[in-house]
């Protein structure tokens, strides 16, 4: 690029000003990425948004009210259903009340095939199934508490009282960063066996239903809810995606909040950068006039100003993105209570795109004024 000396020379003309402008982009992009990470972390725990090929079935009255385990067989008979499994929220803490994380008491016979997004070692799963006091832990939680296979872990029950001890028989990982590896799986049979209150026995928290064909989702949802209509435990079924979305809305529109803060940050950046570039252009009106006098076109002068602004935006953004990636590499600052802690590619691309757009918009007014500069007037004035 034969004009690089011109661009770089102008960028390093006022080093502190350029550094501060780059830092503005860095901070804005880092903040945006951090907000995007937080927004991801606030996605409903344990609900993997696979799309419409899996359904969640909960009690129609409330998600915290259980349903009979006998529903499993009735759901499995509905045409279009590939498999049905269930789980119950255990709600224990490890050592300290602050060390809470998701624990599901799962049906070991049907659980695994319905969640292909997890890497589960065959031998570890076998050991888990054979040991009623076994637990299968997600990689994130295992790392958080430094658990290893073979460890015996005590959990203090909050929903189900007492101290429960489990043997770690396996550690699973996700096939993609979106997969929640914070959940602790245990045997539903064990939970059911130890519950003393007869009215609480043989109940499950929710069902997960896998479909042969996602296009059957509406029909199967209707079929399930009709099946249990007017019973003591009516159901409410939805695709995982719909359920996740509705759950997110109950939490509050975190995404909107993130977008609002991001918009304010970038708008402020736009004003700051626009002002800086306007000053920078005003300071070198004579030089721009000279360039035009010796044959540089109006379009070139416009492009030069825009390109300089974009260069600042790109450098600042890459540094900000690098810092955000470093933060992710350093790990969840809460010590692992966030189920997801990563920067999605989409968020990173959006952030870079926003920075570039900000860089262009911020420079467009000064660039147009530079383009329209009258050589004679600029030489006389400057």
């Amino acid at each position: 690029m034969k004009f690089r000396h011109l661009v770089l020379g102008n960028l390093f003309r006022k080093k502190i000003r350029t550094a501060l402008t780059i830092a503005s982009f860095t901070v804005a992009l880092f903040l945006f990425c951090a907000l995007a990470i937080v927004q991801l972390a606030f996605q409903p725990t344990g609900i993997n948004v696979q799309g419409a090929d899996r359904l969640l079935v909960v009690n129609k009255v409330s998600v915290i009210i259980p349903m009979p385990v006998s529903y499993q067989a009735r759901m499995a008979r509905i045409p279009g259903v590939r498999g049905v499994t269930y789980a119950t929220w255990f709600g224990g803490v490890y050592q300290d009340d602050q060390n809470s994380f998701a624990q599901y008491a799962v049906d070991t016979a049907t659980w695994r095939p319905l969640f292909p997004e997890f890497n589960v070692a065959e031998d570890q799963w076998k050991a888990f199934v054979e040991d009623r006091e076994a637990a299968f832990v997600g990689e994130q939680t295992a790392k958080r508490f430094n658990w290893k296979i073979g460890d015996r872990i005590p959990l203090k029950g909050t929903t189900y009282s007492g101290v429960w001890e489990f043997n770690i028989r396996g550690i699973y990982t996700g096939k993609s960063p979106e997969d929640d590896t914070s959940v602790f799986w245990m045997h539903w049979d064990l939970l059911n066996e130890r519950i003393e209150d007869k009215n609480q026995k043989n109940l499950v928290g929710w069902y997960t239903v896998a479909l042969n064909n996602p296009e059957d989702a509406d029909r199967v949802i209707k079929a399930i809810d009709s099946e249990f209509a007017n019973s003591g435990w009516e159901t409410k079924s939805a695709t995982e995606k719909a359920f996740a979305s509705s759950f997110a809305q109950q939490l509050g529109n975190v995404k909107l909040m993130v977008l609002s803060i991001g918009a304010v940050v970038f708008f402020t950046l736009l004003l700051v950068t626009g002002n800086t570039i306007a000053i920078a252009v005003r300071e070198r009106l004579r030089e721009l006039a000279i360039l035009k006098a010796i044959g540089y076109s109006d379009g070139f002068v416009l492009s030069l100003v825009v390109f300089e602004s974009m260069t600042v935006a790109v450098i600042g953004s890459l540094v900000g993105l690098g810092l955000a990636e470093l933060m992710v590499l350093h790990g969840d600052p809460t010590g692992g209570s966030l189920p997801y802690f990563y920067l999605s590619r989409g968020a990173a691309v959006t952030a870079i795109g926003l920075s570039l757009v900000t860089g262009v918009i911020a420079s467009i007014v000064p660039a147009i004024s530079a383009m329209r500069l009258k050589i004679v007037e600029a030489l006389r004035r400057a």
Partner: protein, 245 residues
């Protein structure tokens, strides 16, 4: 041959006919140039003198295509520049005009080499060809050893010589020098004028120069005086046709 009566030789490299320039400043109508005629041949060295506000720089700006006349025409090497669009005029300037300014007007963040290279970046020359040309131009102005220096590391005279190197590097049809020694001490001014003379005599450049300094004007082939927008007198060794002696 330099003529100012509008009946010059058709072979003149530069012809101005009936040049008129008016400005509007507030309610005041300022008539800077009034029907000015000028013919300059290739290889001529012309100095324009006159009081401040007489229209010298305006004339230079019009001839250089960085301003447009209110009336009249300018023809350079057979091409009527007053008929060109703004975009065409920009391209024309790159090919035909080398500017030398009083304040040197180098880009402070570029080295002497990079400043001189600027006009060549608009051409299709390769990097090595550009380098060769820049080195020749800087050698010609006696600054071959200082090509990596920034303007702030050069004296005023050296800066102006870099400015001249930048003006000649693309081999333009003519040089327009606006008070090239106006900001220099006598010694530096003499060096710059020696250089311009050499360019005219050895490189056969055509130079049109505005100056307030009679000693500087002495170096030109012809001195034209402008007063109130009209070329009123001339003198020097070269006969100026149409001028009152």
């Amino acid at each position: 041959m330099i003529t100012i009566d509008g009946r010059g030789d058709r072979k003149a490299i530069l012809q101005a006919r009936g040049l008129d320039k008016r400005y509007r400043r507030g309610n005041e109508d300022i008539h800077v140039l009034q029907g000015l005629n000028l013919d300059v041949d290739s290889g001529d060295f012309v100095a324009f003198m006159g009081p401040s506000g007489s229209g010298k720089t305006t004339l230079l700006n019009l001839l250089g295509g960085i301003d447009v006349p209110s009336a009249g025409s300018i023809t350079v090497a057979g091409e009527q520049t007053t008929r060109l669009s703004a975009r065409e005029l920009t391209r024309w300037r790159a090919r035909h005009v080398g500017f030398v300014f009083q304040m040197y007007n180098l880009i402070p963040v570029l080295t002497a080499f990079q400043n001189v290279e600027l006009p060549l970046l608009l051409t299709s020359l390769s990097k090595s060809e550009r380098r060769k040309r820049v080195e020749v131009a800087l050698d010609l102005v006696g600054l071959g050893e200082r090509m990596k220096h920034y303007p702030r590391q050069l004296s005023g005279g050296q800066e102006q010589r870099v400015g001249i190197a930048r003006a000649i590097v693309a081999d333009p049809t003519f040089l327009l020098c606006d008070e090239p020694t106006g900001d220099l001490d006598r010694k530096s001014a003499d060096e710059v004028m020696d250089l311009l003379e050499r360019l005219v005599h050895e490189q056969h450049k055509t130079v049109l120069m505005v100056t307030h300094d009679p000693l500087v004007a002495e170096r030109a082939h012809a001195v034209l005086h402008i007063d109130k927008g009209v070329l009123v007198e001339a003198r020097k060794e070269q006969q100026v046709v149409g001028a009152a002696q």
